[in-house]
Assembly symmetry: C3
Homo-oligomer: 157 residues x 3
C-alpha cells in the first residue's frame, strides 16, 4: 500500500478537446407535504441523454432557498433519520424562535437547506453520470405545498 493508503488508477482523458456545448432544463415540483426527499436521478439522466454531451459537468441546483439538491443513499430508513436529525438541528417549532418568521413560518427550512446544500456537481464521462455505487441525486423539500424548481445545467463536449 502506498503512503497514506492512496492508490491511483483508471485515468482517462481527451487531450485533443472539442467545442464546448451547453444545455439547460428546469424540473418543476409540487410536493404535497411540508417536507419530502425525492430521487431525481432518472430525470437528470434523461437531461444528459437529451443534451448529447459526452464529457463535462452537470450542475443540479435548487432554484429556491428553502430546498436542497444533494447526493446520498436511496434508503427509506436513512431518509427518516435525516428528517429526525434536521428537526433536531433546526426545529420548525416554535416558529416564533426565528425573527424571519414574521408572516412566514419557514425560517427552519432556510437553515435545513444550508446543512443539506443547494447544489451538486456531477462529472459526465462517456455520456454517463460518473457515479460511485450508491450515489443518487435527491431534491430535498423543506417548505413544500407550492410549485418549485430545480435547474439542470450541463457544460461539455
Amino acid at each position: 500500500m502506498p503512503i497514506d493508503g492512496i492508490w491511483d488508477c483508471y485515468t482517462t482523458w481527451n487531450p485533443s478537446g472539442g467545442v464546448m456545448k451547453s444545455y439547460r432544463k428546469e424540473l418543476w415540483f409540487e410536493v404535497p407535504t411540508r417536507r419530502a426527499l425525492l430521487n431525481i436521478t432518472p430525470k437528470v439522466e434523461a437531461c444528459l441523454r437529451e443534451s448529447g454531451i459526452k464529457e463535462g459537468l452537470v450542475l443540479v441546483n435548487a432554484m429556491h432557498i428553502t430546498a436542497s439538491v444533494f447526493i446520498n443513499d436511496d434508503e427509506s430508513g436513512l431518509h427518516h433519520d435525516f428528517e429526525v436529525w434536521l428537526e433536531k438541528l433546526a426545529p420548525h417549532e416554535p416558529v416564533k424562535q426565528y425573527r424571519h418568521n414574521v408572516g412566514e413560518d419557514n425560517a427552519d427550512a432556510h437553515l435545513k437547506r444550508q446543512v443539506m446544500g443547494r447544489e451538486v456537481l456531477v462529472a459526465v464521462t462517456e455520456g454517463k453520470l460518473d457515479f460511485g455505487p450508491w450515489e443518487q441525486i435527491f431534491y430535498g423539500e423543506f417548505d413544500g405545498r407550492r410549485k418549485k424548481r430545480v435547474l439542470v445545467k450541463i457544460i461539455g463536449e
Copy 2:
C-alpha cells in the same frame, strides 16, 4: 400531475457549441466585525458582464478557510437567525474548548464555514446568472477584522 410531482419544461441548449473562454477576478473584503454576511450578487454580476461569457458556469469561493460563500435570502431577520443558529451549533466561547485555539481564537469559524459552505456554482444562461426568484450570493465572514478574498472564476462561451 406526472409521477412524483415532477414537471419538465424550459429546455434550452446550444448543441453547435463554441470555444471555451475563462475569466478570473478576486474580490477583497475587510469586515470591521468578527462576523458579518455581505450580499455580493451585484459584484458577481459585474464580473459576468465584464467577461462577456453567455453560456457557462460561475464559481464563487472563499479563498480563506474561516469564511463562506453561500446562496440564501437577503432578509435581515433571517441573517439574525443564522447568527444565533451558528453560535448554537459551533459556539465561539469558551475558546479553550477547541484544540485549534492555541495562539488563535477562530476554531469556531472553521466549523461554521463547513455548515455554510465554501463555494457556490451558478449557471450562466444568455449572459445572466440563472437564478430562481430569491437567490442571492453572500460572503459569510466568521473571523473578520482583516483583509480576505473571494475568487470569481467563469468558464464558458
Copy 3:
C-alpha cells in the same frame, strides 16, 4: 474603502478561448480506522499536471456516500475539533437510534458527510489550483476499513 468594504483587483481572462479538454482519475483509499481526514492536495495537483489543463475547473468528489471531500486547514488540533464536533452533531452511538442501522452501523457517517460536503470545485488558473493561502483538500472518511474512491474530473483548456 468602497461601499461594503469590497475591493476588486487581479482580473485575468482569456477572451479568445480554446478547445475544451477533459481529464478523469480515481483515487483509491483504504483507511484502517472508522474515521480519518487525509490531505489529498498533492494527489490533485499531480492530476492537474498530468492533464496539461491551464484554465478551467477541477471537481473532486467522494464516490461514496459515507465520505466527504472538503477544503479546510491542515492543522491537527483543528482535525481533533472536527472529530469531537461531528460526534456531537451526529453521534455514532447508540447505533440503534438510527433506522438506517439494520444490519449496518454507519447512519451517522451519512449525516456527517452532509455537514462536511460531498465535493469541492477548484478553479485552475495558469496551470495551478487557484487557492488562498491555507486552502487544502481533504478526504474525510467516516466509515472506513474498506476500499473507497474519490473522483477527480478536470475540464478546461
